[in-house]
Symmetry: C2
Subunit: 228 residues, 2 copies
């Protein structure tokens, strides 16, 4: 018997999911799930995932790395389709950005729910934020609410599995402040959409949101950037 209940946390290697893991770890034993889905930076993100899992001392049987080819084969997103360019940041842009991977969160959550059902976890944490992803339809609280109904119906009776979205209404600056207070290892996280190297690009949407967040929170970002 493990002493504490287990929660599955979707851990991309980015700062939002790392803070989400830190929040979950205060109450649950962590089971970390990482999905390689053919995104440009999957090598770098996997490295970040491993370091974060080590930091939180997650045992080997509670780490799961899944390689999925279907987003790449299905296409339709600049994150997975090498023929499409990742746009430079435009934080005032409206509509669905080209980096949107169609129905990605539902796919990844479905994998997490399957795993949770097998290992007996009752919670699945995902670090989705409405602020960052206002253009991504599967990043809104209303989506997760409806998805949770399908989870309650579609899993084994009594599984009691529920998706938790603790940072959904936080801003990037809020998340950074919470993380700094709770010793989250931001130096191990990776947010950039385009770089696999030692420095982040500094100009994609994800870098821009992260840098603005650190500026607003009044902390220095430990990640190094190509474009200052």
């Amino acid at each position: 018997m493990r002493a504490r209940e287990i929660a599955v946390v979707l851990a991309s290697g980015g700062m939002d999911s790392c803070v989400t893991a830190a929040m979950a770890s205060r109450r649950y034993a962590l089971a970390l799930l990482h999905v390689n889905y053919g995104q440009r930076t999957q090598r770098r993100e996997l490295q970040a995932f491993r370091k974060i899992a080590d930091f939180y001392e997650v045992p080997g049987d509670l780490r799961l790395v899944l390689n999925v080819e279907h987003f790449r084969l299905i296409g339709g997103s600049s994150l997975t389709d090498r023929r499409m360019a990742v746009p430079k940041a435009d934080l005032g842009r409206r509509g669905v950005p080209s980096t949107y991977v169609p129905f990605r969160n539902a796919n990844i959550l479905a994998m997490a729910i399957s795993w949770a059902e097998v290992i007996g976890a009752k919670r699945v944490f995902i670090g989705a934020m409405e602020e960052d992803c206002s253009g991504y339809p599967d990043c809104r609280e209303s989506f997760f609410k409806d998805f949770n109904r399908a989870v309650a119906r579609g899993t084994r009776p009594g599984s009691g599995i529920r998706v938790e979205i603790p940072i959904i209404h936080m801003t990037k600056a809020d998340i950074i402040r919470w993380g700094m207070k709770h010793a989250v290892p931001f130096h191990l996280t990776w947010s950039c959409y385009t770089s696999n190297g030692l420095k982040a690009c500094g100009v994609c949407d994800s870098c821009a949101l992260r840098r603005r967040g650190f500026r607003q929170a009044g902390f220095e970002d430990p990640v190094r950037y190509d474009h200052r």
Copy 2:
């Protein structure tokens, strides 16, 4: 421009999804999605899928075969875990059978929805039946209803994608009668959970349901069985 709207149909190579494809083809151009998920009979099912796609003259760009490793890695089902035995049929059994793959339909539907979104299909057909799968929680109409709410929320605004379950309340015998009337190529389909060969085992749940259905409908099953 294609002349007709496209529908994605989940095609396992089995008879239920083949009849579902036949139903969809009366109104839509077919896009067939097949998922290899590490089930014991994936080689045989893929062969059946290809023959069915040829039969319905589905063009290459509207056929998608996805190899997913996560069910095998996650385990928990006798269909994907070689250490668990597939039980012999017991059609009066209650509860969730060991062949249940946790939250499988949600995973497979999520892939289908992603593809539908990219190719502009507004319908995703799945040949789920409550009768066969009463023990599988993600095979019931109520699950698909809730899942459709999440689809409406989680896809691009205006995508209009909906999951259709035309055979959900039909019996196996009903499906066979409809299929015989509409020239469904039952001889190309494969239902057996255990055999990859020329003959089906005849004794797993899936074989037993199929054989009983043909008997009740009063037609001869073109598939050959090891155990008569």
